[in-house]
């Protein structure tokens, strides 16, 4: 559990091994005549398999950063390499494919699709792919993942029949079903009580270990820091401690 050690290891390793490579990243929002500088030159990298917490107060730019990393938004300037690739000039459908194959998302308010049940929500990202595995195989993986996140008994439930913690478990399973390289979790515990938060956090860490999937976890809750192997502190759009 030595965060500085692991990040040091990542740095001494070949740079191209890093899953996320960010250099002098800026994001400026134009609000009428005023401009808001949400990111003011962020330098930051994440190695494959890491569990990283991005910690910062509300409004510090965590969501902005994660949106850029998640290929949902573009930076105003600076460079971002995902898995060694510059994705800044791809069109919508190309980025959709990158997101679908490489990135899993976990949101603060779960964002499950209300008309789909648990199984259907989890398998959804695989079903919108151009090339698909067999239905039976997919169902089998969904079932295994449900068991892993503790949802076996709720597979046929609709989201509105589940508690917050259960919903977030569905979201986690949905993020992992595509076997992504990176899971982005933006304040995934902010809508949960502390007990459930701890369980969710524990679950994510277990999955990080078992699946060797890289997790990037944004939060404003300093308590989470104790659980993380590596913490990146961010304030006013800049990394203040790594």
């Amino acid at each position: 559990m030595n965060s500085s050690n692991s990040s040091l290891n990542a740095l001494v390793k070949d740079q191209s091994k890093n899953l996320i490579e960010i250099h002098n990243l800026k994001k400026i929002y134009q609000l009428g005549k005023t401009t808001v500088e949400a990111l003011r030159g962020v330098d930051f990298s994440v190695a494959e398999g890491e569990f990283t917490v991005v910690l910062g107060p509300s409004g510090s730019g965590k969501t902005t950063l994660l949106n850029i990393i998640g290929c949902l938004d573009r930076a105003s300037s600076g460079s971002y390499l995902l898995d060694g690739e510059d994705v800044s000039n791809r069109d919508f459908n190309d980025l959709a494919e990158v997101r679908n194959y490489k990135i899993g998302f976990i949101f603060q308010n779960f964002n499950l699709i209300p008309v789909l049940n648990v199984i259907e929500n989890i398998e959804f990202p695989c079903l919108v792919r151009k090339e698909q595995e067999s239905r039976a195989q997919l169902r089998e993986r969904v079932r295994a993942l449900c068991a892993e996140v503790g949802l076996e008994r709720f597979m046929k439930h609709k989201p509105d029949e589940l508690s917050g913690g259960q919903r977030q478990r569905v979201a986690i399973a949905r993020a992992l079903i595509t076997q992504p390289r990176l899971v982005l979790a933006d304040e995934p515990t902010a809508n949960l009580d502390s007990n459930t938060s701890d369980q969710i956090l524990e679950l994510m860490q277990r999955l990080n270990r078992d699946h060797a999937t890289t997790f990037l976890f944004a939060t404003h809750d300093p308590r989470v820091m104790d659980l993380a192997r590596r913490t990146v502190r961010i304030k006013d759009g800049m990394v203040v401690a790594n």
Binding site: N67, G70, L72, D73, F92, N93, A96, E97, V98, R99, N100, Y101, F105, F107, N111, I113, P114, V115, L116, E120, F124, P125, L127, V128, R129, R135, R174, T178
Partner: protein
């Protein structure tokens, strides 16, 4: 398989009230359209039947030049009603029956003054009136023009071509004071009205005839129309065996054109064969105008329905912005979002059309069984309408509504697919 279909369908059950409202507009619109179509079809059919079986018949055969000169003196172009001619006509394919007719004009005068009160007499209508009459053999004519005989609203038609009876329009009989049939039948011959008609040479011949029946009509027709016994009139006009036309009934009016061609070549140069739509072009125009007007009304209806669907689909998109953002984050392509909402619109249209058409057909069916009685403009007796719709109408309406709904949903669907992921995700 993608969850596209089931998702689109299930999404309709989400905001039930809005779906029901949008659905309601489609259902009511298509139901109304079906009723209107059923009603228009019935009017159309009744008008066509009145023409084919009561006014012109399906085909008419005249001496060459008759149709052009009908206003001058039709008797000049009379021809002999021969067994040979009848055989030729009846042996032609699709011909079911024929009726020889002699069309003539004349005047009818009532012998009795209308009233003994001098003041009333002074103000009264003239007691002589002009007629444009058809002399017919009732037995044959009934088979060719059945509808005409249904328009006899009082008394009855003479049963024999040699009778001394006459059927005139009620609106003519009234002013002449001869519209009370039972009184007419009781009158001695000296009091019968007198028919005066010019023969070929223009010399007037007259005969007393009993008014045995009155004509009304369900469609606007010539009020001077009258029916007279063929043999009696032939005798009066000194035109034994002479007629001005054969009216021909076919097994189906769709064969009018082929039979016309066939008869024209069989009968030779002396005769001309005219179809109903050549004899009554205004009826044909009327019918096609009815179709045109119905077309416009349909277009307006569908436009309103489509506006309702677009509106509903826009609200749908706006309500689900964050969900769209989520799906985008999960890696959905733009085309998929487009399909999702287009399909949803199509389902809405299909469901609404199915319900609306079903209810409409049910009502049309019941209305048809009962029959709708409506006084037609300019007519003296009531139409009984039997609304109906064709399978083609139902199929077309269903397909058009479904495809139209899908098509107009492209607009909101396109807007949905063009949302920016970050903004969509941060929507409330």
């Amino acid at each position: 398989m993608s969850p596209l279909f089931s998702m689109s369908f299930r999404n309709l059950t989400r905001n039930r009230r809005r779906t029901l409202l949008a659905l309601g507009a489609v259902v009511v619109g298509l139901c109304a359209l079906t009723l209107l179509r059923g009603f228009v079809n019935a009017v159309r059919q009744a008008q066509l039947a009145a023409t084919l079986y009561g006014t012109t018949g399906m085909l008419q055969i005249h001496h060459k030049g008759y149709v052009k000169n009908v206003l001058s003196n039709p008797l000049d172009l009379a021809f002999e009603d021969s067994l040979q001619l009848r055989k030729t006509i009846l042996s032609t394919a699709h011909v079911l029956a024929l009726s020889p007719r002699l069309q003539f004009s004349g005047s009818l005068s009532a012998t009795e003054p209308l009233s003994s009160n001098p003041q009333e007499l002074a103000n009264s209508e003239p007691k002589t009136t002009f007629l444009s009459a058809n002399a017919v053999d009732p037995e044959l004519d009934r088979k060719v023009m059945p509808q005409l005989y249904e328009w006899v609203i009082a008394g009855q038609v003479f049963t024999n071509a040699s009778d001394s009876a006459f059927v005139v329009h009620r609106d003519i009989a009234g002013p002449l004071g001869i519209d009370d049939i039972s009184q007419n039948l009781a009158q001695p011959k000296e009091q019968w009205p007198v028919l005066l008609a010019p023969d070929k040479e223009g010399a007037l011949s007259g005969d007393a005839l009993q008014i045995s029946g009155l004509l009304g009509s369900a469609v606007p027709t010539d009020k001077r129309l009258a029916l007279a016994p063929l043999k009696t009139i032939q005798r009066l006009l000194k035109m034994e065996n002479q007629i001005t036309e054969y009216v021909v009934r076919l097994d189906d009016v769709v064969h009018a054109e082929i039979v016309q061609t066939e008869l024209t070549s069989r009968l030779g140069d002396k005769f001309e064969v005219s179809r109903w739509d050549e004899l009554a072009p205004f009826i044909k125009d009327l019918l096609s105008n009815v179709d045109k007007i119905f077309g416009y009304i349909t277009a307006v209806f569908l436009l309103v329905i489509m506006l309702g669907i677009v509106n509903s689909m826009f609200m749908n998109v706006m309500e689900r912005v964050r969900e769209i953002g989520t799906m985008m984050a999960l890696g959905i392509r733009r085309g998929y979002i487009l399909s999702l909402f287009v399909l949803e619109g199509a389902f809405l249209g299909a469901l609404g059309a199915l319900l609306g058409l079903s209810v409409g057909v049910l009502i049309v069916f019941v209305a048809s069984r009962i029959g709708i009685r409506i006084p037609a403009p300019g007519s003296t007796i009531k139409f009984v309408l039997h609304p109906f719709v064709t399978q083609k109408f139902l199929f077309d309406s269903f397909v058009f509504t479904t495809c139209g709904a899908a098509f107009v949903s492209l607009w909101p669907a396109f807007r949905a697919s063009r949302l920016r992921p970050v903004e969509a995700l941060s929507a409330v």
